[in-house]
Symmetry: C2
Subunit: 345 residues, 2 copies
């Protein structure tokens, strides 16, 4: 198993180290060989090579079986000609990572951490399927000068088709309930989106489909989060809604995500950012990275037993009261990692 | 004072009747003449004339001193060639209503109604200033067919300039804290937006300005709503974030909004929609409409004493325990209105 690791910026290197340490432990325990190569990416790429996504990083990622990304960005590179974020968008586009999957779940034991009233959020368990290589992020023309600015929200039907099918397939493995989010009362692209969803729905008669406008969806995620099963939406709406959804769990530091292409390596990464304010202090919660590693083991390598072992060990450590600062505890990043390692060994 | 009233659809006519009854009471008490004309608009416009915004409605609104709108839309007209929503967009554009102001406040007495934990939401008091006649809603090209779809997010600098100035002016009357929301790490239009905000900021040295990405803003509205004072953002982001913000109050039925042009009449309306499911049952909360009337009295007619009297009477009725179904009570729309009327008289 060849893995490209992109530690990136801020707390990125710290949580990546945690993830890779435990990957090695899993490898020893279950006798797999994980060939991990670390590549410069994001701000670290700029510092090392002048480019957030240098050629060797693109090459290494393309040739890998899977990619682990920790986090990128920070004030230092905000004014760069090519920013860390530009590098991330280029990576997604180059690898064709059109499908971003973000599970949002609130187990009873952490429901009290939510900013929402506990009764309201308890039992929340849904998946946001976000289109990742189209829409307003990539459409042309896209330019600005001192007088005016233009971005373009463009979708080919085939781009909508493949992400929507992916969402239906996921819904089939769950409660068979799909919510498609658009703004079909205003946007032309949403009209094509909605039509495409309705067409594909006829091929999945078991799945109950409903449509929500994006503004209504932003309300319902707060008012009634347990009502969702699978949400599918376009790139920009997915960016906003998946981040909104992530905070209702009260544990942003614990959420992994996976991005997939039609063929080629998938990329796994925490949902949260690089948190420059707490970087280098050994206090970041490595759970999101650990769970991203588990997601990779399961989804890219079909190593289900290994993924289960890792997730179980990590949650045992939490249950034993070893909590990082974001969850009100005092456990350091490395101490948490060592505890998980000890259980695995 | 000439007023154009657009009751629209769903619960619209019921809450409009409440608002107009109390406007008349205020008129008698303070000896003003309010000349109210009701015009067909939205689904009601389609049913009456085939057009959600018939010529007489445009003319009546343009010539009025202020416009009251209740709510529009519903499943009945979703497939219309020109929908109620199209009519609303046309009205905004025709009257140049570029600035939509939505106050979001959570008084201690209603904080327990919020879906957020009470301690977290208590004291929330901010204003969302949304650009309303530009961006993704109106940019050209905008079209779709069975193969592809395009929307265009276009802004002239002058359009950004005027809404941002409006937001700075509002911030000057409050805690002098402005949060500009964009997606400047991805969108060209957001880069011009951010640059314009920073330029105008030099003219308002007393105002503290910060910039948030829209995804971060969607999180912070839930995590730390009391940290905001004035938020300014473009049309599509404003649609999503102001609706998200409105539900954290737990009392969507109580929120008014105002939309303003460079010159000409302003429009006042509840934040919520037409709620077809509860229409005709005399159970809708008329507070949002009553507060929209008060906003009109204050902002369009400078009738501050009158606005105060109306707001005070309405909140006395609520304090006395007369609550509509959305707030857990059993008071009807008309009974609530009669109570307020009695206090005013
Ligand atoms: C960093 C940024 C470009 C990115 C996005 O908007 O897609 C991030 O917010 C995300 O959600 O992965
Ligand atoms: C009805 C719709 C077109 C409208 C909008 O998106 O502007 C509504 O959601 C609003 O916020 O006033």
């Amino acid at each position: 198993y060849t893995i490209a690791a992109l530690p990136g910026d801020g707390i990125g290197p710290e949580i990546m180290e945690s993830g890779l340490t435990l990957l090695e432990t899993i490898g020893k325990k279950f006798q797999h060989e994980f060939n991990v190569t670390v590549y410069p990416f994001g701000g670290a790429g700029i510092d090392e090579t002048g480019d957030p996504i240098p050629p060797q990083t693109i090459k290494g990622c393309s040739e890998a079986d899977a990619i682990l990304l920790a986090a990128i960005g920070g004030p230092k590179w905000e004014k760069a000609e090519k920013t860390p974020e530009d590098g991330l968008l280029q990576l997604r586009k180059t690898l064709g990572l059109f499908s971003n999957i973000r599970p949002i779940a609130v187990s009873d034991s952490i429901a009290h951490l939510s900013p929402l009233k506990t009764e309201r959020v308890k039992g929340t368990d849904f998946i946001v399927v976000r289109e990742l290589t189209g829409g307003l992020y990539f459409g042309q023309p896209k330019h600005w000068n001192d007088e005016e600015a233009t971005d373009t929200l463009f979708y080919k039907k085939s781009e909508i088709d493949r992400i929507v099918r992916q969402a239906f397939d996921i819904a089939m493995t769950r409660s068979k309930k799909l919510t498609s989010v658009d703004k079909a009362n205003v946007l032309a692209s949403s009209k094509l989106w909605r039509k495409t969803v309705n067409e594909i729905a006829t091929e999945y008669p078991e799945v109950t489909v409903d449509h929500l406008y994006v503004d209504a969806a932003s309300m319902k995620i707060i008012q009634d989060p347990t009502s969702f099963d699978v949400i599918v939406t376009e790139n920009m709406f997915g960016d906003i809604l998946s981040d909104e959804a992530s905070v209702i769990t009260g544990s942003l530091g614990m959420l992994p995500s996976g991005s997939h292409a039609v063929s080629g390596p998938s990329l796994y990464e925490p949902i949260h950012g690089s948190a420059p304010d707490i970087a280098g202090k050994n206090i970041a919660n490595p759970m999101s990275m650990i769970l991203s590693v588990a997601m990779m083991l399961r989804q890219s390598f079909q190593l289900h037993e290994e993924a289960d072992a890792l997730e179980k060990a990590a949650s045992e450590v939490m249950d034993a009261g070893f909590l990082t600062a974001d969850l009100g505890g005092t456990t350091t990043t490395t101490a948490f990692t060592e505890q998980v390692k000890a259980i695995l060994e």
